[in-house]
Protein backbone atom coordinates (compact mmCIF):
# COMPACT_ATOMS: atom_id res chain seq x y z
CA UNK A 1 0.00 0.00 0.00
CA UNK A 2 1.18 3.54 -0.76
CA UNK A 3 0.36 6.64 1.21
CA UNK A 4 0.18 10.17 -0.09
CA UNK A 5 1.77 12.38 2.59
CA UNK A 6 0.63 15.97 3.15
CA UNK A 7 2.37 17.16 6.30
CA UNK A 8 3.79 16.30 9.70
CA UNK A 9 2.36 17.62 12.95
CA UNK A 10 3.91 17.88 16.38
CA UNK A 11 1.41 15.60 18.05
CA UNK A 12 -1.95 14.11 17.23
CA UNK A 13 -4.18 17.12 16.97
CA UNK A 14 -7.82 16.61 17.82
CA UNK A 15 -9.32 14.67 14.94
CA UNK A 16 -10.66 17.17 12.47
CA UNK A 17 -14.42 17.31 12.36
CA UNK A 18 -13.86 16.72 8.70
CA UNK A 19 -10.66 16.83 6.67
CA UNK A 20 -11.11 18.18 3.17
CA UNK A 21 -10.92 15.60 0.40
CA UNK A 22 -7.35 14.69 -0.45
CA UNK A 23 -5.46 14.16 -3.69
CA UNK A 24 -7.52 12.14 -6.20
CA UNK A 25 -10.50 12.59 -3.84
CA UNK A 26 -9.05 10.18 -1.26
CA UNK A 27 -10.09 10.27 2.42
CA UNK A 28 -7.55 11.99 4.66
CA UNK A 29 -6.51 10.70 8.07
CA UNK A 30 -3.83 10.99 10.72
CA UNK A 31 -1.14 8.38 11.21
CA UNK A 32 0.61 8.55 14.57
CA UNK A 33 4.34 7.95 15.05
CA UNK A 34 4.56 8.58 18.77
CA UNK A 35 5.21 12.27 19.28
CA UNK A 36 4.77 13.06 15.60
CA UNK A 37 1.80 12.51 13.33
CA UNK A 38 1.56 12.44 9.58
CA UNK A 39 -1.49 13.59 7.65
CA UNK A 40 -1.97 11.03 4.88
CA UNK A 41 -4.40 9.46 2.45
CA UNK A 42 -4.22 6.20 0.56
CA UNK A 43 -2.60 6.40 -2.83
CA UNK A 44 -2.84 4.10 -5.80
CA UNK A 45 0.02 2.62 -7.76
CA UNK A 46 0.24 5.63 -10.03
CA UNK A 47 1.95 8.82 -8.86
CA UNK A 48 -0.27 11.85 -8.38
CA UNK A 49 -0.87 13.82 -11.55
CA UNK A 50 -0.36 17.57 -11.53
CA UNK A 51 -3.85 18.90 -12.00
CA UNK A 52 -5.52 22.01 -10.59
CA UNK A 53 -7.76 19.76 -8.47
CA UNK A 54 -4.88 17.76 -7.01
CA UNK A 55 -2.67 20.77 -6.30
CA UNK A 56 -5.56 22.56 -4.59
CA UNK A 57 -6.50 19.39 -2.67
CA UNK A 58 -2.93 19.12 -1.35
CA UNK A 59 -3.05 22.79 -0.38
CA UNK A 60 -6.48 22.53 1.31
CA UNK A 61 -5.37 19.61 3.48
CA UNK A 62 -2.19 21.35 4.65
CA UNK A 63 -4.23 24.53 5.25
CA UNK A 64 -6.67 22.52 7.38
CA UNK A 65 -3.72 21.24 9.42
CA UNK A 66 -2.39 24.81 9.69
CA UNK A 67 -5.73 25.90 11.13
CA UNK A 68 -5.04 23.60 14.11
CA UNK A 69 -1.30 23.99 14.57
CA UNK A 70 1.67 24.77 12.36
CA UNK A 71 2.70 21.62 10.45
CA UNK A 72 5.72 20.82 8.31
CA UNK A 73 4.28 20.49 4.80
CA UNK A 74 5.57 17.96 2.32
CA UNK A 75 6.14 18.86 -1.29
CA UNK A 76 3.30 18.04 -3.66
CA UNK A 77 3.52 14.48 -4.89
CA UNK A 78 5.21 12.91 -1.87
CA UNK A 79 4.31 9.23 -1.51
CA UNK A 80 5.68 6.48 0.64
CA UNK A 81 4.73 3.10 1.99
CA UNK A 82 3.74 3.17 5.70
CA UNK A 83 7.02 1.36 6.48
CA UNK A 84 9.13 3.86 4.56
CA UNK A 85 7.31 6.80 6.19
CA UNK A 86 7.86 5.30 9.67
CA UNK A 87 11.52 4.79 8.82
CA UNK A 88 11.84 8.42 7.64
CA UNK A 89 10.18 9.82 10.77
CA UNK A 90 12.23 7.61 13.06
CA UNK A 91 15.55 8.39 11.37
CA UNK A 92 14.88 12.14 11.35
CA UNK A 93 12.88 12.56 14.54
CA UNK A 94 15.28 14.99 16.24
CA UNK A 95 15.59 17.20 13.15
CA UNK A 96 11.84 17.12 12.48
CA UNK A 97 11.04 18.01 16.09
CA UNK A 98 13.51 20.89 15.94
CA UNK A 99 11.97 22.10 12.66
CA UNK A 100 8.49 21.99 14.17
CA UNK A 101 9.69 23.96 17.20
CA UNK A 102 11.23 26.51 14.83
CA UNK A 103 7.88 27.23 13.14
CA UNK A 104 5.60 26.73 16.15
CA UNK A 105 2.97 29.45 16.44
CA UNK A 106 3.97 30.97 13.10
CA UNK A 107 2.74 31.02 9.52
CA UNK A 108 4.48 31.77 6.24
CA UNK A 109 3.62 35.01 4.47
CA UNK A 110 4.79 35.54 0.90
CA UNK A 111 5.55 38.71 -0.94
CA UNK A 112 6.63 39.18 -4.53
CA UNK A 113 8.00 42.51 -5.65
CA UNK A 114 7.13 43.25 -9.26
CA UNK A 115 8.59 46.04 -11.28
CA UNK A 116 5.74 47.95 -12.88
CA UNK A 117 6.05 46.88 -16.51
CA UNK A 118 5.31 50.41 -17.74
CA UNK A 119 8.07 51.85 -15.57
CA UNK A 120 10.35 48.99 -16.57
CA UNK A 121 9.71 49.58 -20.27
CA UNK A 122 10.45 53.30 -19.89
CA UNK A 123 13.68 52.44 -18.12
CA UNK A 124 14.55 49.79 -20.74
CA UNK A 125 14.02 52.25 -23.59
CA UNK A 126 16.21 54.83 -21.86
CA UNK A 127 18.86 52.21 -21.22
CA UNK A 128 18.73 50.94 -24.82
CA UNK A 129 19.02 54.47 -26.20
CA UNK A 130 22.06 55.07 -24.05
CA UNK A 131 23.52 51.70 -25.03
CA UNK A 132 22.88 52.38 -28.73
CA UNK A 133 24.73 55.67 -28.49
CA UNK A 134 27.57 53.84 -26.82
CA UNK A 135 27.56 51.11 -29.51
CA UNK A 136 27.59 53.67 -32.31
CA UNK A 137 30.66 55.32 -30.89
CA UNK A 138 32.38 51.93 -30.57
CA UNK A 139 31.47 50.92 -34.13
CA UNK A 140 32.84 54.19 -35.39
CA UNK A 141 36.21 53.49 -33.84
CA UNK A 142 36.41 49.74 -34.42
CA UNK A 143 35.60 47.38 -37.23
CA UNK A 144 31.91 46.54 -36.88
CA UNK A 145 32.15 42.86 -37.78
CA UNK A 146 30.23 39.88 -36.41
CA UNK A 147 32.70 39.44 -33.56
CA UNK A 148 32.18 43.02 -32.41
CA UNK A 149 28.41 42.63 -32.56
CA UNK A 150 28.61 39.42 -30.55
CA UNK A 151 30.84 40.96 -27.91
CA UNK A 152 28.60 44.03 -27.67
CA UNK A 153 25.53 41.84 -27.24
CA UNK A 154 27.36 39.84 -24.58
CA UNK A 155 28.37 43.02 -22.79
CA UNK A 156 24.78 44.30 -22.91
CA UNK A 157 23.57 41.00 -21.44
CA UNK A 158 26.12 41.14 -18.64
CA UNK A 159 25.33 44.78 -17.85
CA UNK A 160 21.60 44.03 -17.74
CA UNK A 161 22.10 41.04 -15.45
CA UNK A 162 24.36 43.01 -13.15
CA UNK A 163 21.88 45.90 -13.00
CA UNK A 164 19.02 43.52 -12.20
CA UNK A 165 21.06 41.83 -9.49
CA UNK A 166 22.01 45.13 -7.87
CA UNK A 167 18.39 46.32 -8.02
CA UNK A 168 17.14 43.08 -6.45
CA UNK A 169 19.74 43.32 -3.68
CA UNK A 170 18.70 46.89 -2.97
CA UNK A 171 15.06 45.79 -2.80
CA UNK A 172 15.94 42.84 -0.55
CA UNK A 173 17.70 45.17 1.90
CA UNK A 174 14.76 47.61 1.79
CA UNK A 175 12.26 44.83 2.44
CA UNK A 176 14.35 43.28 5.24
CA UNK A 177 14.58 46.64 7.02
CA UNK A 178 10.85 47.13 6.51
CA UNK A 179 9.81 43.89 8.17
CA UNK A 180 12.48 43.98 10.87
CA UNK A 181 11.02 42.88 14.18
CA UNK A 182 8.00 41.30 12.48
CA UNK A 183 9.50 38.47 10.48
CA UNK A 184 11.07 35.84 12.68
CA UNK A 185 12.91 34.46 9.64
CA UNK A 186 13.19 35.38 5.98
CA UNK A 187 13.79 33.35 2.86
CA UNK A 188 14.58 35.43 -0.23
CA UNK A 189 14.91 34.53 -3.88
CA UNK A 190 16.56 37.26 -5.83
CA UNK A 191 15.23 37.99 -9.30
CA UNK A 192 13.43 34.66 -9.78
CA UNK A 193 12.20 35.56 -13.28
CA UNK A 194 10.81 38.21 -15.61
CA UNK A 195 9.01 41.12 -14.01
CA UNK A 196 9.42 39.70 -10.51
CA UNK A 197 12.46 41.30 -8.98
CA UNK A 198 12.28 39.48 -5.71
CA UNK A 199 10.30 36.76 -4.05
CA UNK A 200 10.41 36.56 -0.27
CA UNK A 201 8.82 34.40 2.39
CA UNK A 202 8.54 35.56 5.98
CA UNK A 203 7.92 33.46 9.05
CA UNK A 204 5.45 35.53 11.06
CA UNK A 205 3.79 34.86 14.41
CA UNK A 206 0.08 34.21 13.92
CA UNK A 207 -0.90 37.06 16.21
CA UNK A 208 1.12 39.55 14.14
CA UNK A 209 -0.17 38.76 10.64
CA UNK A 210 -2.45 41.81 10.53
CA UNK A 211 0.44 43.99 11.68
CA UNK A 212 2.66 42.44 8.98
CA UNK A 213 0.12 43.23 6.26
CA UNK A 214 -0.30 46.80 7.48
CA UNK A 215 3.49 47.21 7.54
CA UNK A 216 3.80 46.03 3.93
CA UNK A 217 1.07 48.39 2.79
CA UNK A 218 2.82 51.28 4.48
CA UNK A 219 6.17 50.21 3.08
CA UNK A 220 4.92 50.15 -0.47
CA UNK A 221 3.29 53.55 -0.32
CA UNK A 222 6.52 55.35 -1.08
CA UNK A 223 7.76 53.15 -3.92
CA UNK A 224 6.25 54.15 -7.26
CA UNK A 225 6.99 51.71 -10.06
CA UNK A 226 6.92 48.76 -7.70
CA UNK A 227 4.03 46.44 -6.96
CA UNK A 228 3.72 44.16 -3.98
CA UNK A 229 1.87 40.89 -4.36
CA UNK A 230 1.31 39.38 -0.96
CA UNK A 231 -0.29 36.08 -0.08
CA UNK A 232 -0.79 33.95 2.97
CA UNK A 233 -0.98 32.65 5.54
CA UNK A 234 0.68 29.49 4.24
CA UNK A 235 2.07 26.45 6.04
CA UNK A 236 5.83 27.04 6.35
CA UNK A 237 6.83 25.57 2.98
CA UNK A 238 10.00 27.71 2.95
CA UNK A 239 11.08 27.11 6.54
CA UNK A 240 10.83 23.39 7.11
CA UNK A 241 14.09 22.23 5.58
CA UNK A 242 15.29 19.04 7.14
CA UNK A 243 18.49 17.40 5.98
CA UNK A 244 17.22 13.85 5.71
CA UNK A 245 19.29 11.04 7.16
CA UNK A 246 20.61 8.63 4.60
CA UNK A 247 18.38 5.66 4.02
CA UNK A 248 19.78 2.66 5.90
Amino acid sequence: MNLYVYCLCEESPEPAAEWPAGVDGAAVRLLSFGRLSAVVSEAGEQAAAITDENVLAHSRVTAAALARETPLPFRFGTRATPERLAEYVSANEAALTAALARVRGCVEMSVKLLEDSREEKRSEVASQNSELESQNSVVETAEGGRGTAFLLAKRREMLGGEQARRRAEELAAWLAAGVAGLARETSVRVRPAGAIALSAAHLVERARVAEYRARLRALGAGRPGLRLLTSGPWPPYSFGEVKAEARP
Binding site: V55, R75, S117
Partner: protein
Protein backbone atom coordinates in the same frame (compact mmCIF):
# COMPACT_ATOMS: atom_id res chain seq x y z
CA UNK B 1 1.93 51.73 -6.18
CA UNK B 2 -0.69 49.06 -6.07
CA UNK B 3 -0.64 46.87 -3.02
CA UNK B 4 -2.06 43.59 -4.24
CA UNK B 5 -3.20 41.29 -1.50
CA UNK B 6 -5.31 38.23 -1.71
CA UNK B 7 -6.30 35.24 0.29
CA UNK B 8 -6.84 31.85 -1.29
CA UNK B 9 -10.27 31.97 -3.00
CA UNK B 10 -10.11 35.72 -3.57
CA UNK B 11 -8.59 35.61 -7.00
CA UNK B 12 -8.78 32.14 -8.45
CA UNK B 13 -6.06 32.47 -11.05
CA UNK B 14 -3.49 34.13 -8.80
CA UNK B 15 -4.33 31.81 -5.94
CA UNK B 16 -3.65 28.76 -8.08
CA UNK B 17 -0.34 30.19 -9.27
CA UNK B 18 0.76 31.04 -5.75
CA UNK B 19 -0.28 27.56 -4.66
CA UNK B 20 1.77 26.00 -7.46
CA UNK B 21 4.70 28.18 -6.49
CA UNK B 22 4.57 26.86 -2.94
CA UNK B 23 3.63 23.21 -3.24
CA UNK B 24 5.68 22.23 -6.30
CA UNK B 25 8.93 23.80 -5.31
CA UNK B 26 9.14 23.69 -1.53
CA UNK B 27 8.42 21.50 1.42
CA UNK B 28 9.74 18.30 2.92
CA UNK B 29 10.79 15.53 0.61
CA UNK B 30 11.39 11.90 1.42
CA UNK B 31 14.38 11.04 -0.72
CA UNK B 32 13.41 9.28 -3.88
CA UNK B 33 9.68 9.33 -3.16
CA UNK B 34 8.50 12.36 -5.12
CA UNK B 35 7.49 11.22 -8.54
CA UNK B 36 4.96 13.11 -10.58
CA UNK B 37 3.31 11.54 -13.58
CA UNK B 38 2.97 14.01 -16.38
CA UNK B 39 4.09 12.19 -19.49
CA UNK B 40 7.43 11.40 -17.85
CA UNK B 41 8.33 15.08 -17.63
CA UNK B 42 10.70 15.74 -14.78
CA UNK B 43 9.03 17.53 -11.87
CA UNK B 44 11.71 20.17 -11.52
CA UNK B 45 11.62 20.98 -15.23
CA UNK B 46 7.84 21.15 -15.17
CA UNK B 47 7.84 23.21 -11.98
CA UNK B 48 10.24 25.74 -13.48
CA UNK B 49 8.12 26.13 -16.58
CA UNK B 50 4.99 26.58 -14.52
CA UNK B 51 6.72 29.22 -12.46
CA UNK B 52 8.05 31.07 -15.48
CA UNK B 53 4.58 30.95 -17.00
CA UNK B 54 3.08 32.10 -13.75
CA UNK B 55 5.26 35.21 -13.64
CA UNK B 56 3.88 36.35 -16.98
CA UNK B 57 0.35 35.52 -15.87
CA UNK B 58 0.70 37.41 -12.60
CA UNK B 59 1.90 40.45 -14.50
CA UNK B 60 -0.95 40.19 -17.01
CA UNK B 61 -3.65 39.66 -14.38
CA UNK B 62 -2.44 42.58 -12.30
CA UNK B 63 -2.26 44.78 -15.40
CA UNK B 64 -5.81 43.84 -16.39
CA UNK B 65 -7.02 44.51 -12.86
CA UNK B 66 -5.40 47.94 -12.81
CA UNK B 67 -6.99 48.72 -16.18
CA UNK B 68 -10.43 47.75 -14.83
CA UNK B 69 -9.91 49.98 -11.79
CA UNK B 70 -8.83 52.88 -14.01
CA UNK B 71 -11.90 52.38 -16.24
CA UNK B 72 -14.16 52.27 -13.17
CA UNK B 73 -12.62 55.51 -11.89
CA UNK B 74 -13.04 57.15 -15.31
CA UNK B 75 -16.72 56.12 -15.41
CA UNK B 76 -17.27 57.39 -11.88
CA UNK B 77 -15.61 60.71 -12.66
CA UNK B 78 -17.76 61.10 -15.78
CA UNK B 79 -20.90 60.35 -13.76
CA UNK B 80 -19.96 62.89 -11.10
CA UNK B 81 -19.30 65.54 -13.73
CA UNK B 82 -22.81 64.83 -15.10
CA UNK B 83 -24.21 65.21 -11.58
CA UNK B 84 -24.92 61.49 -11.13
CA UNK B 85 -23.96 59.36 -8.15
CA UNK B 86 -21.02 57.04 -8.84
CA UNK B 87 -22.13 53.45 -9.16
CA UNK B 88 -19.58 51.20 -7.45
CA UNK B 89 -21.11 48.07 -8.95
CA UNK B 90 -20.79 49.19 -12.53
Amino acid sequence: MADEEFQLDEDEELSLLETLDHVLDRGLVIAGEVKIAVADVDLIYLGLNLLLGSVETVDRVLGERELRVEQLRAHSAADVSRGEEPDEAR
